[in-house]
């Protein structure tokens, strides 16, 4: 594998859900890529499809009701969507790991940290119980857990939220995966603890050369730790580029609107920018561009034809018929 090549390429993903109310068109033509040792932020509001993307990549999407209709997920050149469930079992944990928003529900409440960690390690590696336990302790040390041998004997409910999330990260990293997918890992945590977890993810990238997909709704988190960012809206990627491009030179009206809707920390303002309206229902998404009913730059074509994600300037992708001129924010 090339050192700086792409570790993951997601191409034209189309995922629908069959529900009682109708077909939910959750992902439509989603494409992005991730370089080795890169941290990619996937940002979007509720229902934008960011978690569905993560579950599709790891093949954890429940099918039914989920349906992967089109697309490829190329991990180190191989399409994960063509793998059998048994092959996926070997890949998950060893090559790709995932951490979740709520560590209390992701960890099993009836097993100790040691049982859960050694279980995972011995599934992937033929080593003795004792060696597995030693490996688990090393993983706990890596995520800066004080007294790891003590924590090994504890049940999840005996740990604080921040500690549980560290255990989750240790568990995810225990078999040295190449890609970590973090689905809102700090949303349930307080800001001071969140800062610790973000610092930890950065350190793991430095130490292990880990590639990370960080799913979040918080622009602050993206700007603190990510190298590139994909902005999602109603099942589409509307903008994808380096964080500097996206934050300083947003091309999509939705990205710009969101950035201006955040109350600033460093100055007083009279009022905040508002994106009128609400996120659409994905059973009956708007025709053409899904953002057009809320967009201030709408053209006639926007109602008719969904815009393709195209590279407008070097490395800056946008899906918009009438993108912003690129003036400084």
């Amino acid at each position: 594998m090339k050192k700086n090549g792409k570790i993951l390429e997601v191409q034209n993903l189309k995922v629908y859900f069959d529900t009682e109310e109708g077909i939910v068109k959750a992902l439509e033509d989603v494409s992005f890529s991730l370089k080795r040792s890169e941290i990619l932020g996937v940002i979007g509001e509720t229902g934008s499809g960011k978690s569905v993307t993560a579950y599709t990549i790891t093949r954890l999407l429940p099918q039914p009701p989920g349906m992967i209709l089109e697309g490829k997920v190329l991990f180190e050149g191989e399409d994960l969507l063509k793998k059998s469930e048994n092959e996926m079992l070997d890949i998950r944990g060893e090559k790709i790991s995932m951490i979740f928003q709520e560590p209390m529900t992701a960890l099993n409440p009836v097993f100790t940290v040691e049982e859960q960690m050694t279980d995972v390690i011995s599934y992937h590696e033929k080593i003795s119980k004792k060696q597995a336990a030693e490996k688990a302790i090393r993983a706990l040390e890596l995520v800066k857990i004080p007294d790891p041998s003590l924590v090994m004997k504890k049940y999840p409910h005996e740990l604080s939220g921040g500690m549980r999330q560290r255990v989750m990260i240790a568990l995810a990293l225990s078999c040295e995966p190449e890609l970590l997918i973090a689905d809102e890992p700090t949303t349930a945590l307080d800001v001071t603890i969140q800062a610790q977890i973000l610092a930890l993810i950065l350190e793991m990238r430095e130490k292990l050369g880990l590639s990370v997909i960080m799913i979040t709704h918080n622009f602050g988190i993206v700007s603190e730790i990510c190298d590139s960012v994909a902005v999602m809206y109603a099942g589409n990627i509307v903008e994808f580029s380096s964080i500097y491009n996206v934050f300083e030179n947003p091309l999509h009206p939705y990205t710009e609107g969101l950035l201006k809707a955040i109350p600033p920390l460093d100055k007083d303002v009279e009022s905040l920018n508002v994106i009128p309206g609400v996120v659409p229902n994905l059973i009956h998404p708007p025709s053409g561009c899904r953002f057009h009913p809320r967009c201030s730059r709408k053209l006639d074509i926007c109602e008719k034809k969904p815009p393709k994600l195209v590279e407008l300037t070097d490395g800056h992708f946008v899906a918009c018929h009438n993108p912003l001129g690129g003036g400084k924010r």
Partner: protein, 324 residues
Amino acid sequence: MNQYNNPIIEVKNLLKEFDVIKGFWAKKAKIKAVNDVSFTINEGEAVGLVGESGCGKTTTGRILVRLMEPTAGKIIFAGKDISILKGNKLKQLRRELQMVFQDPFSSLNPRMTVYDILKRPLEIFKIAKTSEEKKQIALKALQDVGLKSEHLTRYPHEFSGGQRQRIAIARALILKPRFVVLDEPTSALDVSVQAQILNLLRNLRKEYSFTYLLISHDLSVVRFLSDKIMVMYMGKLVEVAPTSELFKEPLHPYTKLLMSSIPNPNPRNRKKLKLIEGDIPSLLNPPPGCFFAPRCPLRTPECDKTFPKLREVKKGHLVACFKV
């Protein structure tokens, strides 16, 4: 804050204890969720109360509007001690003290239409005589929060989170209360919707001229909506200052930690995120001196003995720390 000098709420040595059951043998213990808290809110002032989960901010808010009884301490509202009010007198008080809750999905009765929800307070306090009058008042309140007359006959489940929060705000303001507690009014909402509600609250403040306490864990929300900020940690107030001053010059080491932990949406201005050890201590087993001492970079032996008192270090700027 010289423009506000007529106290509407005075809180004196407020204490709230909860009974908890500890350990396998179900030993009874008490935790102090709000621990000797005193502050004043002036008429017309917008005050923010920030802190992390479990610091006692919501408990404080609930006690202020008397949804909960304090264990000890006094709450003086408009010169009257309301900490011991009961029965009908307490009910009358609700006309002037209102609250907006965090979760708009559970704070509205799913079996009532929007009109029923808004009409209830008018009936309880016999505000309008005819049903036509009631309807007019409800309609006005609804329009003031940006909803339309056709929404009156709908049920809460037909609305999005942001719209539900608008209804909850209309219900709180329909009686024209003098004081409102806003408990995390936008934390359940997405960024684009949050901006709508924050702008709305700012406009309503001018129109309805009420005083409020805004409870939030999000410093950017508090900055946008408050004149003065109080920082709470483990049931204690550790710093109180005018908003602009707190952001310019935070003095308490906990406030500094809080400020430095907020991710900044400007990639050119990254923080040096550090792996600081240390968790928030348990309220069941608080440290002997200053509760922040175990995590504090300025800790001295004195800090492990007594909890520092909140004292004024500059005009209007109060800090509970020996080292400031």
